[in-house]
Subunit: 355 residues, 4 copies
């Protein structure tokens, strides 16, 4: 039934490799095409890639010929995943969409575009309706859907139950981000071994905006009314491999009677896609720990195949109302895994068709 | 002139070793006695200590006989530095003070005591007047002075110029703390290699209170009127060796015209002890970087012999008024070095006498 | 058929936790009893354990009552796995064996005992015959089988194909060992972050001896004729979590015509247990890489569920004959996983009976 | 007297920065010119450099204009230090030598050239006589002297006392090398955090050869008779910042009566330059520890300003004769500091003249 031929754009990069790993075992999606830059094209994938995943590169994928990221070379696929670098994603993704090939993208380029869904299936599944406003092709066969920045995904998932029940007036956070978020080779070991870098170029601007689109409401004109509260972020890099940890303090609109009521709101929160049977959807999208020492990147980033959001340390705050920490695997839930889940939702909702 | 014989209590611990290292080259203070627990007593220091400093253990110190932490064994010293564990500091430090031996302590036990100065010489030098209210001995020969927690020192130093000029309404922070803050053996490598721990037991309570005493005013009754603003802290452990980095957001009482005015307040701030010629006082107590990637623990924790406070990323905040980061060496400025500077101030102010 | 009730001794330690994790999903073995020290006994497992595995503690195991390590409390199990600390393993394991409860042990205490198999199923499966010489019980119902030290397992597996085809005259190695090999809390983060320690207490003596027993031949008197060649080891600790890497140089008895012949010997080597269908046996027990940068702990320690031995950099040596590196997961292949595989072999060979 | 104007080629790289740091405080040498690639030229040094040293960039150096690495731009210097990348060092260093500007180089390009001294002042100071055979200029005013690879320096220093007294038949070693050895940005954090890489491209070939030139004797024809014994190296990268640790096993020509005799040979060894008063010469060039856990990169790499060679674990070996470990700071003793010491020797020996 749900068998699709897929391509991966930017297949040799860190996110591209994660797509390969996740899709290799996927029950619906079969990798047919791999796209990369001119330098890699016309090589076998194993020749072009510096494989950094901690599982062996599957032999059948290793032997695929890498193509340039041009729609002509991807005609046989039903859609593509894009792990393209933002320096090239704008043009390439547009080319694919205009050629009638849907693009499920992890790149930042179209995230804030009015007609492009910025999608977390558990948070704003109805935003996929924006696709109908896209005009890449006359017949709506080609379009783009994006997933948020790797901090914005755990941040927004953590805020959602609170926002729904109590409203939000202000959010302040410090992120402790893993090096895999910078791609490969990314952060120099000279910079980060036994060190912390208190700034990540371009990151905070995304954190200030993307959650407001994600928590926004789709209106009658099929556009998004953004959520309205200020977010202040300090993005830091720490010497962890995977898993972005966020330390968050929030001011609520309506006061809970006590902290237990906030905990209940989080624990009672129901994923709107729980019943859809999406293969990549985590069994427990949000886990709230009581152990003060949890969550930790090494222990909890890979829970539920790296798709679970972990929360902890939820408590009253002397400043604002509540403080807590949140953690998610930045290259799975926060990137490739999030994109795969997006594709699964789009299949279920009838936006993706196999041929 | 200023030659003093000093003892070190808790000399085999991590802070005790830092005292040894700092005092070995000190122009005023000469190590005469080393105190440790019963297990170490009656050994040579080199037998009792697992030396973890990255300079060789000085041979003359290595050969000192370790004593129990009893005042009788320290009669020949003018005062003692205490790097004692809090589990034993209360009784031992009291014993020394009652025996007429001043105690310059890094332990937390007496920090919040009404008559005990919690001292950072550049911040609240006048608080040493509290000593006069101490009653350990009739002749005031024995007393206790403490330095703050290793987060509270950089936090308060960073807040001081802002507090003086604009006032503070609220402070929210996340600390990224080095493993040396937990002593030795302290944090298990299994817990922290490539990981972050979002909680440090007992730490946040100190951060919520100590800065308010430090920024408080000594009143006519010779007690402290605490500063009054809420502080909310999330203390995390990261895999760095030395240097606690703080990500801080603050609400001001009086609005600066722009961020430049805040920067000027910090850069124009004058240390009240600049003219005293204290050997351990840093040439530049506060350094404010413009480079967004600074300060970093590996690059800046040891500036000015580990006594400088580094600040950076000062900017307007979408939540509250200003956000910035601050960094200091936790076992030098934040512990042993801070205590040595305290002793130097107390010498200059006539509280310590050599015999 | 092969359903067994098992107990775990030392269940709260690092190796004990790995046993819990591996056995939780095991098709033959069901955890019925958990044993630990007096301090942990009479608590639920979740209360007694500081869980450090990167998967959630299974709820049904969490709720098991922890027992003292006394045979009376383990009567309902068919056998026990021992992750006991060597300081207590001698007496406890003997007690269990004498009570008729077979012990599959990871502890070092009985490894070099003449009648105790030191077992790697792929290397010396016939050594299990030593069990018949054990006299813990008259009816041979109680006995002890051990797995080797976590360096000796990859070392001996790597040497085996070479030893069989060319013989060995001398082996020199340096190990780069992960911190998990020291248990929990084990190595202090202050000692190992950004550092190397050139010595591991007690380790080199095991490396010098255990491989000679493992490669020894069982003789007509049902004892082991040890292999005879000198091994020289330098054991170092490096800041990795899992995976011991060995740098090995070996002198051969018979000269291969070229290095390809050595590679062929390794690649053609056949596991003697390949046909037994043991659940924990890796599909490819030995993998020899051609990529000079492989194997690496982070990338390859977990291949084949952590049970594969990875080799690389095989080349002629200017000193002796061949140099190469070898890697295995120290707490799976090198400890708990090795013990589970031992148990599986003993089931297949009829030494373990379910009741 | 000994005041010299110096230039630094490759000044923005990791080694170049170390030259800046070491020379800033040098009593004889004053930095006058900084050279870098075209990309950096015509900028102020602070604009061109990504400063990674853990001390502040000195303000007067920060303001120097960076030049292209062309002799015309360096006319006012007495000689240059070269931290050039090997991809450009051959031509640039030759240009300088031919222009009559002596080059003290850390690059590998000319190390094995018959007329170029490969120099460690404590090991082979007489090799500087090779300079007389160089023909870059007719008047011998321009020439090149090199320092060895960062592993070869500690290796050869450690071997020297043993070689002199007992002779060497074979040496086998595994190096555990810090990331700073790869320059900046060098090793990706994704590759090395919590990991080991068992290969360093191009490294082992140098280790096999350079020590034989260093231990060689200058003959009547003013060329070097190389030492003759095989060296086998496995070079690995570990997650340390500074300090290469070597695990070495050696076969001796003449058998010592016992291991104490070897220890005495090392401890009695006298540096041939001890009396020259070179500012960068360490007080104790070789330190042999008895503590099995020493030396360690974090604790001992910076001893004697990073110029000391540390040894430890010296013991009889079951294979060959002796095993031991050695450690030196790879970017100070093993690179820039070694080059500065070379220059100091050349000053004392009259090869460098100030104008």
């Amino acid at each position: 039934m749900n068998q699709f031929n897929v391509g991966i754009l930017g297949a040799t990069g860190a996110v591209g490799q994660k797509f390969v790993r996740l899709l290799k075992e996927h029950p619906w999606f079969t990798i047919r095409k791999l796209g990369a830059s001119e330098r890699s094209a016309d090589q076998k994938y194993w020749e072009a890639v510096n494989w950094i995943e901690d599982v062996p590169l599957p032999q059948d994928i290793a032997d695929i010929d890498v193509n340039r990221c041009e729609p002509d070379a991807f005609e046989e696929v039903d859609f593509v995943f894009s792990g393209l670098d933002s320096s090239v994603a704008s043009e390439i993704e547009q080319n694919f969409a205009q050629s009638g090939i849907p693009v499920i993208s992890n790149a930042k380029n179209y995230r804030m575009d009015d007609t492009v869904p910025l999608l977390i299936p558990e948070i704003n599944p109805d935003h996929i309706n924006l696709i109908r406003s896209q005009t890449f092709t006359e017949d709506h066969s080609g379009w783009i859907v994006t997933n948020p920045n790797c901090v914005c995904i755990p941040l927004t998932m953590a805020l959602k139950p609170v926002y729904d029940q109590f409203g939000l007036e202000a959010v302040n956070l410090t992120s402790l981000q893993a090096v895999s978020g910078a791609g490969y080779p990314g952060v120099s070991s000279m910079d980060i071994l036994g060190n912390v870098i208190p700034f990540i170029n371009g990151e905070e601007g995304k954190i200030h905006l993307e959650p407001l689109k994600l928590l926004g409401k789709i209106n009658e004109a099929n556009s998004i009314d953004y959520a309205k509260f200020p977010i202040q972020a300090t993005a830091t890099r720490v010497p962890t491999i995977n898993g972005h940890l966020l330390s968050i303090t929030a001011k609520l609109s309506d006061m809970p009677s006590d902290i237990q009521e906030v905990k209940q709101a989080i624990r009672n929160w129901q994923s709107p896609i729980a019943e859809l049977g999406l293969p990549t959807a985590p069994a427990n999208p949000i886990k709230l720990f009581e152990n003060d020492y949890y969550p930790q990147p090494r222990l909890h980033a890979t829970t539920d195949n790296g798709m679970q959001l972990s929360m902890g340390r939820l408590r009253n705050s002397r400043v604002f109302d509540i403080s807590f920490v949140a953690l998610a695997h930045n290259t799975i839930r926060g990137a490739a895994g999030g994109a795969v889940l997006n594709a699964e939702l789009l299949v279920k909702k009838g936006y993706l068709n196999n041929t």
